[in-house]
């Protein structure tokens, strides 16, 4: 063991000095370390003499009283915050709920609108050549318009009333349901 290590260990263990066998041998062989060790032991003794007067019952009672007062004040403040919340919190919750409902209904409307738009788009897409679509779905305004255009081109401008006689029942039903007066001619 060298002096540096010994000094390091001793200065850290003032207050609970314990020497192992190696350190005891070093202490016997090294007068410098022995002097240092004696100084530390003396310091330890002097520091231990520096006692404090313990906390008296009166001091503790006074501290406890002050602590109780502060704890009660803290608890009252916490309770008053709770009562404030219960008084005005209900209103806040109601406003929040209404806000949420208004947001949600707007959202629902948006979904509905989009879904309908998508249906409409799908309908027209089906018209434009989807083989799996139903026959009814193939009839739209463009189809009827084309039909009427061909017919009037072939049969004269005022031949609309003849058209009705040549239509299939499905075509006739579609016209009746979808065209307004004046749309044809």
């Amino acid at each position: 063991m060298d002096c540096g290590k010994f000094k390091n260990k001793i200065s850290q263990s003032v207050g609970s000095v314990f020497l192992d066998a190696d350190e005891k041998i070093h202490l016997e062989q090294c007068p410098q370390c022995r002097n240092l060790y004696e100084e530390y032991v003396s310091l330890e003794r002097d520091l231990n003499d520096l006692t404090i007067e313990p906390l008296s019952a009166v001091e503790f009672a006074s501290m406890q009283q002050k602590l109780d007062e502060n704890i009660n004040r803290y608890n009252r403040r916490a309770i008053s915050f709770y009562s404030l919340f219960t008084r005005y919190g209900a209103g806040l919750v109601a406003v929040g709920f209404l806000f949420f409902v208004s947001l949600w209904s707007g959202f629902e409307y948006g979904v509905y609108y989009t879904e309908n738009s998508e249906q409409s788009d799908t309908y027209y897409l089906a018209d434009n050549g989807d083989e799996n679509s139903d026959e009814d779905e193939t009839m739209n305004d463009d189809y009827i318009g084309l039909l009427l255009y061909d017919y009037t081109q072939n049969n004269g401008y005022n031949s609309g009333d003849l058209l009705l006689g040549d239509l299939t029942q499905d075509e006739f039903d579609y016209l009746e349901n979808n065209l307004d007066l004046g749309d044809i001619l």
């Binding site: 850290q12 310091l43 002097d46």
Partner: protein, 179 residues
């Protein structure tokens, strides 16, 4: 933390005032000794101790129980004491009255009576930098292991050991010059 203490802390966390008061009684002497040795003033020590327990009451919900309850209290008390010393140091720089050049001196702690070596030793401890003084008090007087002090101060064990060595070396040199 022993089982009884753990149970007391759990009850105090649930708002049981009797359990909290029991914890206060169990730790009062340790907290008082630390705050008194740090500040050297009984009134201030009592105030800091009261403040430590009040903070513990308010924050007990955040105590996770990884370290012991007393270690947690030591941490609160240490911070309060360090803050007090910092404030005091700042205030000492504000010249409220005309000071003479030799008025910068360390106060004699109240707990020391008598003259001679005790007085010199007390003054030497009081003149240590606050963190060294804290480590010294926790290690020497409170007999806490370095690892625990490191946990309380949120520092590495080697930093704590270095602080302690420096404090001891300063005290030894002061006494050497006195003798």
């Amino acid at each position: 933390m022993d089982i009884d203490n753990r149970e007391l802390v759990a009850r105090a966390k649930d708002g049981d005032r009797q359990a909290f008061d029991k914890l206060v009684k169990e730790n009062k002497d340790k907290m008082f000794a630390l705050t008194l040795r740090m500040t050297g003033d009984r009134e201030v020590a009592l105030d800091l101790m009261q403040d430590t327990f009040l903070t513990a009451y308010k924050e007990i919900g955040s105590f996770r129980g990884e370290a012991g309850f007393s270690s947690w209290l030591y941490r609160i008390a240490s911070n309060k004491a360090l803050n007090y010393l910092k404030r005091k140091k700042i205030l000492s720089f504000i010249p409220l009255t005309e000071k003479t050049s030799d008025s910068v001196s360390y106060e004699m702690p109240e707990y020391v009576d008598g003259e001679g070596l005790n007085k010199e030793l007390a003054l030497a401890i009081n003149s240590l930098p606050p963190k060294q003084k804290l480590v010294f008090n926790l290690r020497f007087y409170e007999q806490l292991p370095f690892g625990k002090i490191a946990g309380i101060l949120n520092k590495s064990e080697s930093t704590v050991k270095t602080n302690y060595q420096k404090a001891i070396e300063k005290l030894r040199k002061k006494l050497e010059s006195f003798r």
